[in-house]
């Protein structure tokens, strides 16, 4: 099958790269805070952190406006912030406060900001794929050049809904970008034990432009996403990106509580630490003479202040009341 190539040498330029570096840092530091809050027992529920995977969300979302849609996963904090959601509303949500993105009714696995086109993290593996494809249909019918992106994991790739959506998206030429965040694990199972063949080949079988890239190389993700999203906007249909990455934290923060033995080696984790997309992009910007050590300190300080503010905001906010619940089930109707 000869399919259009997504590979081009587009590049965002240093200023945009710097903004993306800051976004990645914001994700990392926000999640570090949430991870600490989870481990200390301050948070209800579970949190799944995306540390190490930030480049994918940030690079892809850099091409999107608030009118475009992103469907996400149980590991959705990064997508939420990359799509323009605020650290305040994220942290407050995960802390279960009424000032949170979903008024404290959703929690970590459901962070959503429709005003930013972030149609939600989703607790059902594969759920966000269907929703994003629906948003792409809506975009197509509206005819304003909007696009939708579905982020999902390598584990999620074995859900039948992905195959169903790929088929429909190609048939209907939906303005959809499917982004598989291949971090090598589905919970505690190594990907090779739960995925036969190459995931990207499944997309190719439907006749979709498909690329496999280094997901920790922000520029590479950015360049491929540029082409895919441009194609979608022009009505040329869906594309598929398989971005190889790694999660530097556990599947969920609480996992040490029930794991009997490690499911991945310290060595492997250490190896991937050296490929962390954040220092990697910083290094690259230094090489481009677009960033100094002082700049990095300033970025870190900005981000730290934002996270601190957000945390304080969450702490000072009230938990949601029952009235909020009762008005959030139906529109103009009591449950």
């Amino acid at each position: 099958m000869s399919q259009p190539d997504l590979h081009h040498n587009f590049t965002p330029g240093p200023e945009r790269l710097k903004a993306m570096l800051e976004r990645m840092l914001l994700i990392r530091r926000t999640e570090e805070q949430l991870g600490a809050d989870s481990r200390s027992g301050e948070l209800p529920g579970n949190v799944h952190l995306c540390a190490g995977q930030e480049a994918i969300a940030v690079a892809v979302c850099d091409h999107l406006s608030d009118d475009d849609y992103v469907g996400s996963t149980h590991r959705g904090h990064g997508h939420f912030l990359a799509k323009g959601g605020s650290a305040k509303s994220l942290i407050a949500e995960v802390h279960g406060k009424s000032s949170g993105a979903c008024g404290g009714l959703g929690g970590s696995m459901h962070v959503t900001d429709l005003s930013k086109g972030m149609i939600g993290a989703n607790g059902i593996v594969g759920g966000g794929i269907g929703l994003a494809a629906g948003a792409a249909l809506s975009a197509q019918v509206a005819g304003q050049g909007q696009v939708a992106v579905a982020f999902f994991g390598d584990g999620a790739s074995s859900q039948g809904i992905l195959s169903e959506v790929m088929n429909i998206a190609v048939l209907w030429k939906l303005p959809l970008l499917l982004v598989c965040e291949y971090n090598g694990y589905s919970e505690f199972s190594a990907s090779a034990t739960v995925n036969a063949g190459e995931i990207a080949d499944r997309a190719r079988a439907f006749g979709m432009p498909t690329e496999v890239i280094d997901g920790n190389d922000l520029e590479a993700v950015w360049a491929v996403a540029a082409v895919a999203i441009d194609r979608a906007r022009k009505g040329e249909g869906p594309s598929f990106i398989e971005a190889k990455t790694y999660r530097l934290r556990g599947h969920l923060e609480a996992e040490d509580g029930f794991l009997q033995a490690p499911y991945r080696s310290e060595d492997e984790i250490d190896q991937w630490r050296t490929r962390d997309p954040i220092p990697r992009l910083a290094q690259r910007l230094v090489e481009l003479s677009a960033l100094t050590a002082t700049d990095i300190e300033a970025l870190e300080a900005n981000v730290a202040a934002e996270v601190k503010d957000a945390l304080q905001f969450a702490h000072e906010s009230e938990p949601p009341g029952m009235e909020r619940v009762l008005s959030s089930v139906f529109v103009d109707q009591r449950p």
Binding site: V141, A142, I168, V331, Q333
Partner: protein
């Protein structure tokens, strides 16, 4: 007023609302051909942008319908038989019914799932379910079960103008029954308002979907025996107009609920529980349920007939209640 069949009434509702609101889209397997007839002519009129045949992919269909609605496109997802809603159940049970709450009220979900319910034509266990009790338990999704062409049109039009996820169920064996339907383009039937088909003093009969017709006949037979029946069709099961039902039973003191669903955790059970609680002191006899037994539907026609509610069973239950 014009006389039409239930599926024609739904067809008319689609046409009127899709003309009124250009954003509405409809998709489903072979909706262009339209096996039931309810989607007939829509493709010719509204074209491939708004009316689409889908592959057989119920999981994607339900999920995509919810996503499209969330992104602002009112969406009709046609699932053909209600059993196929169970094949693609995640989009209904885990997404549609929950997303507005999970997003803290951000999401509006103008999505309408359409499917046929009920047995009676020997289509076998996998095409004969009446699963609204399961849908009722989901907690975040409206359910319409019209029994007349007028209600079908009015309830569909209301669903398509609203912003709540809705499961719209067509009682299959009622599809061919004709009735008068308003041509007023703004004829709407509200959700949560039962229809009192007949007032009476001795006993209340609540009948749902395909059972409404049976109950009408049962009421006629009972009248001949001197029993005055108050006949109520809830029309929507979520929201459920328990006020009207409870008020009626406070008056009559007796209740029979006729529901084609399997008995266990049926709509009939729930209505009986609510009335048994709220109208306790008015009850003069046990509340009787006329439902299907707790088994999948067999194929042989005589067995289907024996297992399904019918006028005779409703009369028998009513007489038992009158004796109580």
């Amino acid at each position: 007023m014009v006389k039409m069949r239930l599926t024609q009434a739904i067809n008319a509702a689609y046409f009127e609302e899709m003309e009124r609101n250009e954003r509405i889209v409809l998709f489903g397997e072979d909706v262009e051909v339209s096996m039931f007839g309810d989607t007939r002519g829509l493709h010719a009129k509204f074209g491939s942008k708004r009316v689409r045949n889908t592959p057989i992919s119920e999981s994607a269909m339900t999920g995509m319908a919810v996503g499209a609605a969330m992104a602002g496109t009112p969406t009709i997802c046609h699932l053909m038989f209600s059993n196929f809603a169970l094949t693609g159940f995640d989009g209904i049970a885990n997404q549609a019914a929950k997303l507005r709450l999970m997003t803290g009220g951000q999401a509006r979900l103008p999505v309408t799932f359409v499917a046929a319910i009920g047995a009676g034509t020997s289509t076998g266990a996998q095409h004969s379910d009446t699963p609204y009790p399961m849908f009722m338990n989901l907690g975040g999704i409206n359910i319409a079960v019209p029994a007349t062409p007028a209600d079908a049109k009015g309830l569909m039009k209301s669903a398509l103008r609203g912003f709540n996820p809705t499961i719209f169920l067509l009682p299959r064996v009622r599809g061919a029954t004709a009735g008068e339907v308003s041509e007023d383009p703004d004829f709407l039937v509200p959700y949560g308002k039962a229809s009192v088909l007949q007032e009476g003093t001795d006993i209340t009969i609540v009948a749902i979907g395909s059972c409404v017709n049976h109950a009408v006949r049962a009421a006629k037979a009972l009248k001949e025996d001197g029993v005055s029946v108050e006949l109520i069709d809830p029309r929507t099961l979520v929201p459920l107009d328990t006020d009207t039902i409870v008020a009626s039973v406070r008056k009559t003191g007796r209740l029979v609920v006729a529901d084609e669903a399997r008995d266990r955790c049926s709509a009939a059970s729930h209505i009986a529980a609510v009335v048994g609680d709220e109208a306790f002191s008015s009850l003069r006899a046990p509340i009787k349920r006329v439902t299907a037994p707790n088994i999948p539907m067999p194929y042989a026609p005589a067995l289907e007939r024996a297992l399904l509610p019918d006028p005779e069973k409703i009369v028998a239950a009513a007489m038992l209640t009158m004796a109580g």
